[in-house]
Symmetry: C2
Subunit: 399 residues, 2 copies
């Protein structure tokens, strides 16, 4: 069945994919980054080979989905495309224009069948993080099987209970799709593996805190973006090499200097590098990302081997979709100190109400502590690039 | 304490209120409507008198709050202002421009202290219906005490359980604020009273189904808008008179003819009559509102006298904030038939993701049944009025 699909896919859609999924590969002075790019170049073939071996593919939108459960069932978690504006016109035939570019782009990728990860997915796992995604899923469901997790608004005890039940449902669904039981042993193994990955990301973050910082923001972003797409068993050895290389650079005092910027806000998924590109063009150097392509991707380990502990770790992710998300604001302030950042670029995707409104509170809190902050709201288009450049240049000069 | 406030309020803010809260009172051929307008003119004084008598005022945003609990504790539920664009500039100092006008207007009314109901409120009850409101509440909380109810995204058993717990918390909070215990007897009395009001609204809806329809859409809208603001004991006798008058008109075959329109979508709170005004200007007659200022305000009775039944009634409200809100789509189709509507004007407030995205599904489903539908997205400004007029005129001619 999917063999047939593969042929169609390879035959007809190859051009579209190359066109839409151009993610700007360049040679790095870091060998590990070059390996990462190579792994990405091979990912599509690897994924389809894994499918041929009978493994099931779970497409993901968000860092709230406990990938440990997928891995424990020998499934493959893979991020979905949503970082390019090429697919937005197709999406706008069904979705309102006044909707965040990430949501429209994702929907458009599925609609135009131009994302290999969407096409490989046996099922897509969504979650009720924001109004736009929640309601978009109702339309997407007509194109691909979906399982939507109920992520509650609050962070109280009764919400934790509901979330744990949702994680239990997810486990059942994954076992059904894969036909594999998630045993205690398998779960422990998966938890250890994902924790190992998280610890490596932590190490990289600590190395980025040094002056000069050993890796450019554009490369770090690429790392976080591709981490969602790659096989974890491919990724971990690359991260290990990268840690080593960065340690060596730090030891030698090599790296990048400039105004040190912490980015905070909406995810920047593969294909979307707009704001980091601009910051580093105008003399800034991005040393951290308080983002789902950044800290929210790897902070907090799973501190035990049962479903309770697993659910707990994901429940803690400080996303702006949470009502009274004070932990996020606290964490941003800590990150500024830990990373020796000179200022914060608060990044909101256009029409993203949660991050946009929360931005007012973040700004107020940072200003109280004398931390410079600039708030940017933008989409995936090129139209505001010059204007953003001017604003960010002025901000970086000022701090 | 609030005596002092009253003086300040009456002295300094009277002008502001009159300016911002001009809700277009005109004489009606229906005596009950004139009584309604009179009751509204007196409402502010009545409310402050009730406060002086020691009763507590609960400001409400949304039809999800079980007002029976407030009434059972001898409290006063009152809707909050949010229908005028005059307060939006003040709101946009704190909130993003890309946010629904209702949210911005409400916030602006509180910020500029220009809504008597906000100023009278001892506490405001919010709920997590949408991203914009949820996050706005975090900022509003700095200006007024708030209690936010956790309204879950799903409509499954575990969400119903969570909602019931939230209703129980609300009861406790109301008892604390008022100092009055909500006894079984008091609750029963309140449930009966609110059900009585709902049944009267039902009767009015059935009368509007007749041809000619005995009341203009602009007047019906005013009724639903003011119902949120008036004291229920003042409202019920007015509704009874209105039912009688409308029955008489129907008997005599008096009323309004023209293309019969069902409005469906976002709430139109007091001050916002834009779309209904235009529809009736260009030859349509609005016969129903599938809206929180309309059916969602009064449909479904509380079918028992305990908290479970109370929570259940509110849990059923088919708001677009619900994931897989199929009941709403079903209900719209039924309403078209029940009200003999010729077409549906789907009304979305700008940047309201939930109603906007759900509009695609509503449109698809109605078109399948051959029901004409036009989708309108607008704000509170005058700028698109001529354009809307042209579009709605064409739609009404076409159907």
């Amino acid at each position: 069945m999917y063999k047939l699909f593969l042929d169609i896919f390879d035959g007809i859609l190859k051009n579209l994919i190359t066109k839409n999924l151009n993610m700007g590969e360049t040679m790095s002075d870091l060998k590990a980054m070059n390996e990462l790019n190579e792994a990405f170049a091979n990912r599509k073939d690897q994924l389809y080979k894994q499918k041929e071996e009978g493994r099931k593919v779970f497409g993901l939108f968000c860092s709230f989905v406990p990938i440990e459960l997928i891995l424990a069932a020998n499934g493959i978690p893979v991020g979905l495309c949503g970082g390019k504006d090429t697919t937005i016109p197709a999406a706008e035939e069904d979705l309102p224009r006044n909707l965040c570019p990430l949501i429209k782009s994702s929907y458009g990728f599925k609609k135009t069948k131009s994302c290999p990860y969407f096409e490989a997915a046996d099922i897509v796992i969504g979650e009720t993080t924001c109004d736009g995604k929640k309601k978009m899923f109702e339309l997407m469901e007509k194109m691909i099987p979906m399982h939507v997790m109920h992520l509650p608004h609050f962070r109280d005890e009764r919400s934790a209970k509901l979330w744990l039940d949702e994680v239990k449902d997810l486990k059942k669904m994954i076992e059904e799709i894969t036909g594999n039981e998630i045993t205690e042993e398998k779960l422990k193994e998966a938890i250890d593996k994902v924790n190992k990955m998280r610890k490596l990301f932590y190490k990289i973050y600590k190395l980025r805190a040094k002056t000069p910082t050993p890796i450019k923001g554009t490369e770090a972003l690429r790392l976080f973006q591709l981490a969602y797409l790659l096989d974890i068993d491919t990724l971990i050895p690359i991260l290990e090499k990268l840690v080593k290389e960065l340690e060596e650079k730090v030891e030698k005092g090599e790296g990048y200097e400039g105004k040190r910027i912490l980015i905070s806000g909406c995810p920047m998924v593969a294909g979307n590098t707009k704001i980091v590109d601009i910051i580093e063009e105008v003399g800034g150097v991005v040393v951290g990302e308080e983002s789902c392509t950044g800290t929210r991707q790897f902070e907090n380990l799973v501190e035990g081997y049962d479903l309770e502990k697993l659910a707990e770790r994901y429940f803690k992710i400080p996303c702006a979709c949470i009502f009274k998300n004070d932990n996020r604001i606290k964490r941003i302030k800590e990150l500024v100190k830990e990373l020796n950042a000179d200022g914060v670029v608060y990044y909101t995707l256009q029409y993203c109400h949660t991050f946009n409104v929360e931005g007012a509170r973040v700004e107020e809190e940072l200003k109280k502590e004398g931390i410079p902050i600039i708030r940017i709201e933008t989409d995936y288009s090129e139209s505001d690039k010059e204007q953003l450049k001017t604003r960010l240049e002025a901000f970086i000069e000022m701090i």
